[in-house]
Symmetry: C2
Subunit: 551 residues, 2 copies
Amino acid sequence: MTSHPGVLTIAGSDSGGGAGIQADLKTIAALGCYGSSAITALTAQNTRGVQGVHPVPVKFVESQIHVVLADIDAKAIKTGMLYDAQIASAVVRTLKAHYREAPMPALICDPVCVSTSGHTLLRQDAVDTIVDELFPIAALITPNKQEAELLLARRGYPAEIKSLHDMLVAADALMGLGSRAVLLKGGHITATLDDIAQFASAHPEVKRVPQGVFGENMEILQLSGDTTKIEELVVDILYQTSGATMFYRPRIDSQNTHGTGCTLSSALASFVAQGYDLVEATRKATEYTHFGIQAAYPVGGGHGPLDHLHGLRPACIPARTPTNKHPFTRLLIQQSASTWKAYVEHPFVVELGKGTLAKDKFVHFIKQDYHYLKYYARAYALLAAKATTFGGVDRAVQTILNVLREINTHKAFCGKFGVTEEELESTPEASATTAYGCYLIETGLQGDSMKLTMALLACLLGYGEVGLWLKRHASAPDGWVVLEGNTYLQWIEDYSGENYQSAVKLGLDVIESRAAEDPPSPARFAEWAGVWQKCTQLEKGFWDMAMNLSP
Amino acid sequence: MTSHPGVLTIAGSDSGGGAGIQADLKTIAALGCYGSSAITALTAQNTRGVQGVHPVPVKFVESQIHVVLADIDAKAIKTGMLYDAQIASAVVRTLKAHYREAPMPALICDPVCVSTSGHTLLRQDAVDTIVDELFPIAALITPNKQEAELLLARRGYPAEIKSLHDMLVAADALMGLGSRAVLLKGGHITATLDDIAQFASAHPEVKRVPQGVFGENMEILQLSGDTTKIEELVVDILYQTSGATMFYRPRIDSQNTHGTGCTLSSALASFVAQGYDLVEATRKATEYTHFGIQAAYPVGGGHGPLDHLHGLRPACIPARTPTNKHPFTRLLIQQSASTWKAYVEHPFVVELGKGTLAKDKFVHFIKQDYHYLKYYARAYALLAAKATTFGGVDRAVQTILNVLREINTHKAFCGKFGVTEEELESTPEASATTAYGCYLIETGLQGDSMKLTMALLACLLGYGEVGLWLKRHASAPDGWVVLEGNTYLQWIEDYSGENYQSAVKLGLDVIESRAAEDPPSPARFAEWAGVWQKCTQLEKGFWDMAMNLSP
């Protein structure tokens, strides 16, 4: 399945934005395809109706189709309002010419004759043209009751479509007009569950696709005030040479039905372009349209449009791309820029870099760091316990092993500063250490593994940033960081060194891919960002504690 | 802030779909506004360039604007390609006429003169018209380097814009053309951080808005392979009577710049329509455009378009609406329909409803239910421990109190069946009970409170559904459920009764609102649905155990 397969819509323009190519392009984009358009006619239109039509010169309609298809591959094509016979023929002529050597992609033809508001959008003379010239190359036509009656009347099928049985007969008759399949839309015919049951027993050969209909063990939802009417169902019948399928769902009482036909046919084209067969494409397209009506918001004073983007929610993290590998981490750092800066450029770090840091302060720091690392290791053990994959367990345990190794070098390091192992163990824990350590454990018990990962991140990334920052200012021409003879050189080397930096790299990759695989809602992102910021503050507090020799 | 404020775009149509009203409407929709359009000219265009232009008759341009504004309130208006002097004047005339009595919403004017592909989109004779007639009513004009030079040249400002200083001088000169503000886009001028620093010291009065620029404590990201070039920055200057602001961000090497100007100006209009001031609207609109270029996917053989929907992700739960109050629960039930049915219409339930259920099976059930309820209460205690609000703690504790009350009636109930309290306590726990009970606790320890809530849901909702189902089939004409003289009548009354059903109602409301406030990603939804289905299976297993008297 191509990423964003191309879909071309050949239709009218609705200045009101709710129907025509405007509805088509919103639908196509919302469903993950790429839409291009050839405009056949402009309308001056709003939610109350069509006030005027300006047909586009036939030559220019042809040239739009030609120019688009010459450059942008279409996996499906949809036609809507074709206005008159000349334009309709021109469209057929141009498509046939373009696909002379190649097979034509699925052509979904919405035989738009009359607008929701009752305005004629297809000249009488054009009806024969679309039937005789367009239908024969169409993979599917999608007439509603009114359009079906109009199309069939010209073929000596005078009857009105009133029942499900009428629909089936009409769909069969419409197949006679030359398209490979017919979707007869029953929006104007109301059926009940009993009608469906009766129809089903009379026509067992017709496949049935119920869509979110009640009665199937959902009485609690009804009792809790769901008002969807199951007394009134909307039924669509898809007729293919392979057989008929009926789709039915509860009717929604709504004024927001402007552009429903355009939306459905462009949704069909989009799903077909993505490789779905007609039955599945119809199921998905009718549900997309159904929910679009349900989610509609008020626009204008007449028949408002659907909400075409109902199926999408705002993302709070930019997409991860080759030029932006860490959108999530960058956002975290930017959002807490001042706290983060106060942490990674802390006076403790600066004095450590200059080599001027008082020894007792550093000793206080490494003693408390010893206690902190115990919490840190235990938090990773908790993370392992919360993992759902062996990979997750492994990553957490590897970190614990690193900490245990670090502890030994830490002890040796402390020895250099005259701190014995006994002293390390017996040193009382400072409040800043308790606050930070216990916050890690509490976060692990309170939330899921991602939340705990967020809590563990500030330490991993912060020390990495400090290491690189000091290293850079040591090598810079105006470098204020002293390496040679610096009492704390090893500490700087450790955190700027390859070992630690590769752990940082791994950590970054883990959270960036998890955030990309499971994009958080704004609420969840705020929770993560809160944990991150809290921990940067606790890190700053930890160094304050060292600088002030606080208990 | 109105939901979906209206934005009208008055511009050309790009058949290729990447620029013009097509880009405008995608942008406006993506940013949560409602877009309508008045088309000034059609182009036959693709990513390689403009092949032809069909200007729309002046009267019809007027009528599109008139018809839209007569019905759909616009909070901001954007103009793009106006093609010639007649159309440009007509647009100004129509807007002035419509807003004779009311204040005109912010008018964002993108003085489109030349397309990205170099095609002239504004006749020479129209330049004076837009300057003399349109700019004076514009809240903002958004020229790029080329357009700014062209506009200023006609005002005897021959110089080329090469540097940040040139930009500032040009922006100041452009203010002289009559608009209330100017956004001079620096897309074609490259600056470095040093250029910015120098400019800043020379012009301290110019506010600076860095956008995701490196150097601010993000060295770890660079080390981990972020390739964004900070050597090359793109700078835009917003000039207002209140002062100038410069926005700068890393340049992205990309062919996907087709429609950038249209996108930026319609994004500006959308944010202004939402009530943001020009500085904030510019920051958000430039970032939206920046990420749109970054997330672009290949289309056509030339300059491809941006990804206008980069900021949105697919939702897996339909919007919660007055006619669809339980979209989440309905989806859960539909997705696991067969398991759910096997659970709530279990033979155990059927025989219980008929009153034919063997007493020893029921006794086995209530003994094991006693053990299960202990796990259930403890799981809610865990939920309370994981809550982040007092409301959350309260809801969980209320449930525990209900269970404790239930336990007493349960004991009395067991007494009727000759089961003593000692017997209840001493009965060994069946594997089905252990499986279900321990799964609840494990889920609570492993995940967050929502995941635990999902695990507790199948029991709450299932027994509610069973109660209503039995009650309905007792009252139905063909009712097979016997109430009178049914040994298990009280059990039926309990779960169909008001107490239990109001608990179900509360539970439904809690999860529906939590799912709506924190919409899950597809990955997270799958995790939730997995837990739900697992628990419906464990519930069915629990009744199998009772039917088979399994240990």
